[in-house]
Amino acid sequence: MTSGLDITGLCKSFGGIIVANNIDFTLRPGDRKALIGPNGAGKTTFANLITGFLAPSAGTLHLDGRNIINLKEAKRVKAGIAKTFQITTLFKRMSVRENIRLAILEREGKSFRWFAKDNGYSDIEEEIEQLLEQFSLQSSAADEVHELAYGRQRLVEMALTLALKPRILILDEPSAGVPASDSHIITDAIERLPEDLSVLIIEHDMNLVFKVARKIVVLVNGAILTEGTPGEIAGNQQVRDLYLGARHEH
């Protein structure tokens, strides 16, 4: 039995349009893979197929050797797959602390308790404080999320996802919307992620990608073009043409 995520022959089409074309993909513990590709290449679709937000047309999906193709989104989270959203999706009118608390309560299977106080579990409260510290969010802990600067909201997004203690973490454009001056906050946070975690980063910002990724997968028109180390990808003429071409469109 292999540990980590194993994907073979994954396909998805909407109407007649193919958005995932026979993708084979693996993610092992400790991996830091980045998924890049031009707009519309199917990166977010691919992430959604892994999390179960979308159902594939064909293909297999195994986590630690276990077939998870039929698991619903919520069940896959319990199985250990978590993702951050490209557009911050948080509980905006709750405090940062409450956001993280919700995630931990859910992970611990305590979110269906009716008669306990939500902040009454000292171990959970301790863990919240650790996460706040890890992402330097202590000073904003009591603020409602919508009051935070966007860069800090991205951190909450990551903290909340990490609170689920996933084995597979998918970061969907973690630096989207974050001003360049603050992007180091995101990079630092990613670098401080637990070593044995498998991380898949979908990202436009090449600086970030090359800083944190150990392997890069290039997706074009729903299919994998190539996979390699940052050095290999940087030297790949095909990728350079494609990617730079796509960049010109902006």
Binding site: T51, F53, K72, E73, A74, K75, V77, K78, A82, K83, F85, T89, L90, F91, K92, R93, M94, S95, E98, R101, L102, A103, L105, E106, R107, K110, S111, F112, R113, W114, F115, A116, K117, D118, A142, D143, L160, T161, L164
Partner: protein
């Protein structure tokens, strides 16, 4: 529904003490009302019962964000179940309450399985349909429910075998106040629990709740079922105090009025349900006795004024007043 309904939860423990005082003050007001208005206990009891109904709606709408215009389905089911139980099995009030709660919860669970897959207008329409269908069934099964004449023959035993219901309504008032207090305390505990936090989470972002692994649909069914139990208790109380149940307990106007009271009061903090109900029913009562032909003008104007100038409902009033004070030189 929209997430823009504010959830001004206290930041930290700062307000906790004040909140406790507020709770005690509310219960005190309930006790004081008995002595201040000893001649209007019938009306006051109806207000208390309606508060239970609106609290239940607040749980569903204010906390979990489920917009419904069919809450009378749950209230009425509780009322009919408790009434039928009293007529056919036992006239013990507390047993009747339990039966009402179970009936409300069961109806909520079953209808929730259909309703809670829908959203927005579709959800509103489905919830209306459930209540209408139940009302039609109650109207048709005249041999059991009394149809449009009402369910007759409810005569409650004394509570604990000691406190008999009197025609002035004293026992009824204390009974309703006690039940309301118990419901309120229970709901206070539940909304501060992990379950309550998760309900708010669903309201804020169902998508994110799914992404942290919450089975959102089943969680909504659970909340709706709980609210059904609470509304069922309200219905049962109404049946026991009135000693009659009629089709209006399942009616659209009851659902609509409960919704109006809740939005007037303010969503998602339980207090709004209390203030909204008290203020709406009192104004209705007074306006209707001054000029019943035209009281609808007063209610219409009240509703518009609140929605235009107090978008958060009555519970937004203190904050608004404070803001005004700060602005004045």
């Amino acid at each position: 529904m929209d997430t823009a309904i504010r959830q001004n939860r206290p930041r930290h423990g700062l307000l906790t003490f004040r909140r406790l005082y507020l709770d005690l003050a509310l219960i005190g007001a309930g006790i004081a009302a008995f002595f201040l208005f000893p001649d209007s206990l019938g009306f006051l009891t109806r207000v208390l019962i309606m508060i239970i109904m609106v609290l239940s709606l607040d749980l569903v709408l204010g906390y979990a964000g489920i917009a419904t215009l069919g809450h009378a389905a749950l209230f009425g089911s509780g009322a009919y179940a408790a009434g039928l139980f009293a007529v056919n099995f036992s006239a013990d009030p507390l047993l009747g309450l339990a039966v009402g709660a179970v009936a409300g919860a069961v109806i909520a669970f079953v209808s929730g399985l259909i309703l809670l897959r829908a959203q927005s207008l579709t959800l509103l329409m489905l919830s209306i349909a459930v209540a209408q269908i139940l009302q039609e069934i109650a109207s048709k099964e005249r041999a059991i429910t009394g149809g449009s004449d009402g369910l007759l023959g409810i005569s409650m035993e004394p509570i604990f075998g000691i406190y008999a219901f009197d025609f002035v309504g004293q026992t009824g008032y204390w009974y309703a106040l006690t039940v309301l207090t118990a419901v309120f305390v229970l709901l206070k505990i539940i909304v501060a629990s992990p379950f309550g936090l998760a309900a708010r989470g669903i309201h804020e972002s169902a998508e994110r709740m799914r992404a942290i692994g919450t089975p959102v649909y089943w969680r909504l069914v659970a909340i709706y079922t709980l609210a059904g139990g609470v509304a069922g208790i309200g219905g049962a109380l109404s049946a026991q105090v009135t000693e009659l149940v009629s089709l209006d307990a399942l009616g659209f106007s009851l659902s609509a009025e409960a919704l109006i009271m809740l939005i007037l009061g303010g969503l998602g903090r339980l207090y709004g349900a209390i203030f909204g109900t008290v203020i709406f029913m009192t104004i209705h009562h007074l306006a209707a006795s001054v000029d019943p032909f035209n009281w609808l003008f007063v209610i219409g104007a009240l509703v518009l004024i609140v929605v235009y100038f107090l978008p958060e409902g009555f519970i937004g009033l203190p904050a608004r007043a404070r803001k005004l004070m700060r602005w004045s030189p």
